[in-house]
Symmetry: C2
Subunit: 192 residues, 2 copies
């Protein structure tokens, strides 16, 4: 029962990273649609089946850090100080995520995503999954007296805030405005 320090897992993670890096490079060089799964596998020197063992779909190669996103959101809810209000905690985390996406050299990647219907669709489903996980975290803490519907609604709103901010001309201003709306919506569900 040794702790998972295995070399195997390091190799696996390295291979996964190599596949993702190769894929992203090829996609940006030649365009997402112009690069096939077989191209990526060949360039990364792995079998096609190996690629699909690490990633569930072609689109997942682009959204490699999917899991992080989800974790950060739920932790913003569960790890906040006791009795700290929900909405500002959510707002802080979503703001960080938006900054992460609009900053540094992420421009070309998002341009690629916006240009590909397949990638946009995939991102949509991803975000709905995130909304459901976030909803579960919120319900776990507020379910009584807040209703499940109210919690799920707020979760959806928070994800929508992220998306709309990312697309807006002035992301941070848009986020401020949207979260004012979310705050009002959350207040409206406060039990008498």
């Amino acid at each position: 029962m040794t702790v998972p320090t295995g070399r195997r897992e390091r190799k696996k993670a390295a291979k996964r990273q190599k596949i993702a890096d190769t894929a992203l490079r090829l996609f940006l060089e030649r365009g997402y649609d112009a690069v096939g799964i077989r191209d990526v596998a060949a360039e990364a020197d792995v079998a096609v089946t190996t690629l699909f063992a690490h990633f569930p779909a072609k689109e997942a190669l682009v959204f490699e850090q999917d899991a992080d996103f989800e974790q950060r959101l739920t932790r913003a809810v569960t790890d906040r100080a006791p009795d700290a209000p929900l909405i500002p905690a959510l707002r802080r985390e979503v703001l960080a995520l938006v900054r992460h996406c609009t900053g540094d050299g992420a421009g070309p990647i998002w341009h690629m995503i916006d240009s590909s219907p397949a990638l946009r669709k995939y991102e949509e489903s991803m975000q709905l999954r995130h909304a459901e996980v976030l909803a579960a975290a919120i319900e776990a803490e507020f379910a009584p007296p807040r209703t499940a519907t109210a919690c799920r609604t707020i979760a959806r709103f928070a994800i929508a805030a992220y998306t709309l901010a990312r697309e807006a001309a002035e992301p941070e201003a848009a986020l401020d405005e949207t979260f004012q709306m979310i705050e009002a919506a959350w207040e409206a569900t406060r039990p008498a």
Copy 2:
């Protein structure tokens, strides 16, 4: 330059309907995944390419009345009495749509949709498209003084209300609650 009374277009529409009906029947008989595009085409006595000339994807065969949905939503905004408030008008239309989906013999169809990841994904994209169209309609009427971000946010919220209500145990109660939240959010954007 005769008005479009053509027999051609009637035939075309009839063929389209026949394809959709055949597909839905086969899907419900044997299951969505168990029926291939080639099966549908054969049973409807058309070529595969003809099928794709009428429907952009396999999933579209199930969501045949997609366009209606979109039109009804936008009309709820544009065709309401002058100076009538926005949110109640939206609420009324969304309620009608929810009733249409949860009522009569629609059960098996929605069960099929909920069981198929492909269909769920397709419905998600559809709804986001609807949200964008609805957002455009709202912006066209409220853009000054309301911001574009606020309008887009409300459109997303309205679509989310539909989805959450459809999934809830008590759809109409869920809709009431969600729209109270939406009303509060909309009020929060009222300019000073």
